[in-house]
Amino acid sequence: MEILNQWAFIGIFAVMAPIFPALPILIAWVLRPSKPNVLKSQTYECGVETVGDTWVQFRVQYYIYGLVFLVFDVEMVLLFPWAVAYNRLDFFAFAAGLLFIFLLFDGLLYAWRKGVLVWR
């Protein structure tokens, strides 16, 4: 139960954390003037009228950055236990980690070669 006690702290903290920024916003909501008009609450576009739809088509390169990050993120998830247990293990652990990262690096190498990681 000792462990859950620590997490109870995190739980209360997680509930409290958004309340701290919410308080000044609430106070401001009471204090501030509020005189909205049509022009003021339009979408800002460098002073001119908004043109077209906001959901414009984006380039696929954003998706590819997200994709490469996702793959690395999941790899890191498996590498964290490896790093934590590293001191307890023998030389075989290094070989396993090396192979793991080598396989991952192959994918990165492919992405480099295809030039998808160059911002355009």
């Binding site: 958004p18 401001a28 480099w112």
Partner: protein, 402 residues
Amino acid sequence: MDCPGLCEALVQGGANPGLAQFLSLFVGVVLVSGIPLVTVIVLILVERKVAARIQDRIGPNRVGPFGSLQTFADLLKLLTKEDITPTAADRLLYNAAPLVSFASVVLIWAVIPYTPYHFGADLEIGALYFVAVASLGTLAIMTAGWASNNKYALLGAFRVVALLVSYEIPLVFALMVPIMLAGTLNMLDIIYAQSSMWFVFMAPLAMLLFAISSQAETGRAPFDLIEAESELVAGFNIEYSGMKFGMFFAAEFMHVFTNAILLTIFFFGGWLGPLWNEPLIAFAWLGLKASLIYFVFLWVRNTVPRLRIDQVMRFNWFFLVPVSIGNLLLTALLLKLMQELGLAPRVLQTATLGEVLPMTLVLLLANLGIIALILGRLRTTGRSERLATGGGAGSMAVAAGD
């Protein structure tokens, strides 16, 4: 149930044990989270003063002695500013985004050990908790950009998010080096593992990588190309005004100092220093080290020019990521070799200075070797690029990688 300190006093005073425990936890939460909230008010003033001195100005000096009340004046101004919500916005998500952004930074402080005896939660997975919570901030930025229903906000958010996720990779690979050396994810154990030798001497390169990528995670100069506050509209928070904008702003300031504290804990021994057994002295050590690192962050911010987004991305994918992976593997190899030869202790928490000295020397030399190699390569690449572009200034900024 385990219930020391305040909780025990409450139970003896006749309170319900469950309620007493909740109250003591609640008081703990308020105390722990109070520290970052108070610090951020001081930080904003410090930041402005330091920036002014670096730029040969005086900085705020009207409100209070040496302008010390300037932040409160600004706070009052923000409180009375009209808060405009665009009609096209998704109101729920638009209002939630600044809260999540701020909370994602405050939540990190729950696992930071202020002294050997005072900390929020002593989690087994403290370091992973920090990485996980910090990723909430990315989602907050995405939500802010989308909910504003503005092309510039959305485009700005996309670019910030692409930048943030890119720089999280070297950040975590650099973080893995101290974790591997300490053999634990627990923040307290990571600090105790440095009791005979700080990790900065064993892994200076990992320290540099962590510092660079955490600076990028905060989205500050030289990585503030998305906000570019002096030239462009503000990026993802363009539609935010008043206190909601203030919350994004405060979160950014707090994030920088949080990163300084984390760097202190992972590489500079946290509260370790002479007489660290005394809570107050330990706290002072942590604050002193973090403030020095924070000053270096400010220095970098105010002196290094802003980079273009293609340069920033290239710097990350073709330089930081391979270097951080190589650094991790080299550290792992050397560590394992020395452990197998009996030159390095397997448990650093109880090791003496004599035991860790050989491994420190080897790792330090290896790190310095890599740094020398990188600098040499950068010099040749930079020179050839300068020659190719006829001495153009732009090519000097990031000449790394390919």
